[in-house]
Symmetry: C2
Subunit: 475 residues, 2 copies
């Protein structure tokens, strides 16, 4: 295995991943804005297009919600699964008990939005079929189906407070108590609806943890929700020395109604009896214990808290970790300048629905970790995900120790970077920004074949890094 | 002036224009879908990205609505107009009487969505400025400002029935009576909010009418709303023989509350006394008169009606026109196969909010015109607009008569194409589709300098056609 050349390449690679979502989604808009500002400052390129597209965007969400509720994707897939030709609008309407006119219009709009493919060659007897993406993620018979998460993304309990409360939240800087209660109640919806979606991220987090070695006998999942992150960390195992790791215990911490979602998931994975415990209540109010865990997981939770509450939570996590323990923080990170990307965008619903939650930059999370007494933190991109893993180390790992060079190279230690974004932390931001400015090509789609051996893991990372380096526009 | 080479080029050019919106907006999605289906049928390229982006899209609309309501764009522009440096989030927050935290998050999200530019170089003292598009269309001090149209695109009286009633409309094929009443009441909002937006389209329609010659002494504007289309047709004039056309009379037809919006617009343009008349009521119930008008305008109205009601309306229009008169139909047209583009998408709100309205293809509008007794119809693309003008001729113009060859070349006569989409009408659809399939480049942004002479108009069209021809991928 070739050692990775330097810290810089790892960071460059990180930048490429972190903004691949942005590169794909917003490149047209941003290119227009950049051209307007940077390249042709005096040429008028004003257009109302972005305004009108954005103002109309809510119709796309309404369309998708209606199609999922009417079971349209599953009905189309069912016909094809029987080996029959793709269905006409009339046939889909019959299967979904809808009017033909209403279904035809819906299917055409779904086609225009890229969810279906219409048989133009058979005009005027059109038929419709699913795209591969719709087949995998919207057909309820598919194991990867995300259709139920529409109730999370587009539920009335989300859309209504967001639309009606946003102006007030901007004026006051905080969601009203009533809105916060609604949002809190939504965590149960999330736990139920988002299991399928978060599972693939949880697999990647568990794989990254495996690759970094360290004990994981005692695992605490804070604000566990559906429990997926803790369950996978406690039960997945790689090959070689880490094989047969079947004695981990999981403690799930969350409000009592949420634990009702986590417990069955744990039991289904074999975490029963002495291997599973619960702590019911608000993580801020509960006692976490002292030096009691090897791993503490906080997924999509830190961002819902303001800086003081987040700092207090990390202090509790640091105290709860045994020597050599690690905290795994999983959430969307904002770019250093908060000017693009999913992490920056997600600050809006957090403003609308929480008291003082906000997506953070890596530098901010790092500073919180250092202030809480962690020795080092490491940012780990998760392939094909809008979320990022931050590993906070109770003790700094030796640069050349551990399971491989990736860990040493990727770690930003407290000695290298203080709480402010200087040194390597700043390089992280700058490298990412420069990469994005140059329209750094996003890495090709990769399949994360889990479980994989550690050797396979490093080999995969190496290939991706090499791929980034060969295309590096500023070498 | 060089005569246009043939009908085919005109039609090809039409196809290029008609889908420029789609080409810009949806090319990424569609390319992915096409690659998945056509080019690599066995390669798995499934991704949840389109699903998640679409499910989240409503947040962009909510963001924009909040920013307009809080006057953010105007506040930023006001600072720059005073010659001062672009403002910080704190300064914008003060101007808009908002919390700094809430405003900072909003400004960052607006930046990520392409509405603002953030001064990355001045980190951490960030400032914000408008893009040229935001400056032109969202600053209330700009004469082109569209900000108020947010109340149309994102008003509660639109978003709420659309979100709550869509499933029911798909099931039954029609909006409920209550929803239809809400939608009808919205026409007054439209008349008030959309004047600025429709003005640029109305200018293009008037210019196209001018270029085609013919009398326009007596003008009837059906469902006049804000009155902009009729006012411009009655008052704008070109150069040469058409100069000084200052005796046109305008009759505005609409429900009484709407006429309260049209009358001041007419008066402001000098249409007073004998030059302005009103017909208050439902166009379907009113008497229009016989051979009384040279021009009948129907903008964004035919699409709100089902086929029978639309046919009846066109028969009334045909009867109301004097010999040589023309009907001008302005609305978004669906592509021939209803598989892409703004016209196809707009069928969704029409399904949700009307009894049986739907966007139509040109072939369908043409068939309705022919059935109503019109001799010919012509489709006229409107540059940089999602709408299209259809001119229905009471008498077929002689192929080489009139003001120029564009008219003759662009006309699809009743003799050439029957009610079904055959012959040249089919060529229109096929040419457009083939052009779109090949990612036919959209014409460059053009500035429509109105008023322009007829010579300038033809010269502009000629340049655009030639530009299309030189890039024609299937010659």
């Amino acid at each position: 295995m070739v050692l990775l050349p330097s810290l810089r390449y790892v960071l460059t690679f990180t930048g490429g991943i972190a903004f691949s979502t942005w590169v794909n989604r917003r490149v047209t808009k941003r290119r227009a804005a950049q051209a307007a500002i940077n390249k042709t400052p005096n040429k008028e390129v004003a257009s109302p297009k972005l305004f009108i597209d954005t103002a109309n965007a809510h119709m796309g969400s309404a369309m998708l919600k209606a199609a999922v509720e009417l079971n349209v994707f599953t009905a189309i897939a069912a016909v094809t699964r029987k080996g029959e030709a793709p269905p006409t609008a009339a046939r889909v309407a019959e299967a979904c008990r809808c009017s033909e006119r209403g279904m035809r219009i819906l299917l055409d709009v779904l086609t225009a939005e890229g969810f279906l493919v219409k048989s133009v060659s058979s005009r005027p007897m059109y038929t419709y079929k699913l795209t591969p993406s719709s087949g995998k993620y919207l057909d309820r018979a598919s194991p990867s189906c995300l259709a139920d998460s529409v109730s999370w993304f587009c539920g009335d309990d989300y859309v209504k407070p967001l639309w009606t409360g946003l102006v007030d939240s901007i004026v006051t800087g905080s969601a009203t108590a009533a809105t916060r209660e609604t949002a809190e109640a939504r965590r149960l919806t999330f736990a139920r609806a988002m299991g399928p979606k978060t599972r693939s991220t949880a697999v990647k987090v568990a794989a990254a943890a495996l690759a970094r070695g360290g004990a994981r006998d005692r695992i605490l999942d804070v604000a566990a929700g559906h429990g997926m992150y803790g369950v996978l960390l406690a039960t997945q195992h790689g090959s070689g020395r880490d094989n047969g790791h079947a004695t981990s215990t999981l403690t799930a911490m969350d409000a009592a109604p949420l634990l009702a979602a986590a417990a069955p998931a744990a039991a289904a994975a074999g975490l029963r009896g002495a291997r599973y415990a619960q702590l019911a209540g608000d993580p801020a109010a509960l006692e976490w214990g002292y030096a009691s865990y090897d791993c503490v997981i906080m997924a999509n939770y830190l961002q819902t808290l303001g800086a003081d509450a987040a700092a207090a939570l990390l202090r509790k996590a640091r105290a709860a970790l045994a020597p050599g323990g690690r905290a795994y923080i999983v959430e969307a990170l904002a770019d250093e300048d908060r000017e693009r990307g999913e992490g920056t965008l997600m600050a809006l619903p957090l403003l609308a629905l929480t008291r003082d939650g906000e997506t953070r930059t890596f530098a901010e999370v790092h500073a919180l970790c250092v202030a809480a007494g962690f020795a080092a933190s490491e940012v780990v991109p998760l392939p094909n995900s809008t979320q990022t893993l931050v590993v906070a180390y109770q003790e700094a790992p030796a640069p050349d120790a551990g399971v491989g060079s990736v860990k040493g190279a990727g770690v930003v230690t407290a000695a290298q970077a203080g709480p402010a974004q200087v040194g390597d932390v700043a390089l992280f931001g700058e490298a990412a920004r420069r990469a994005a400015r140059e329209d750094f090509p996003s890495p090709e789609e990769t399949t994360w074949n889990y479980p994989m051996s550690l050797g396979d893991f490093f080999s995969l990372v190496e290939r991706m890094v090499v791929s980034s380096i060969t295309k590096n526009p500023f070498e």
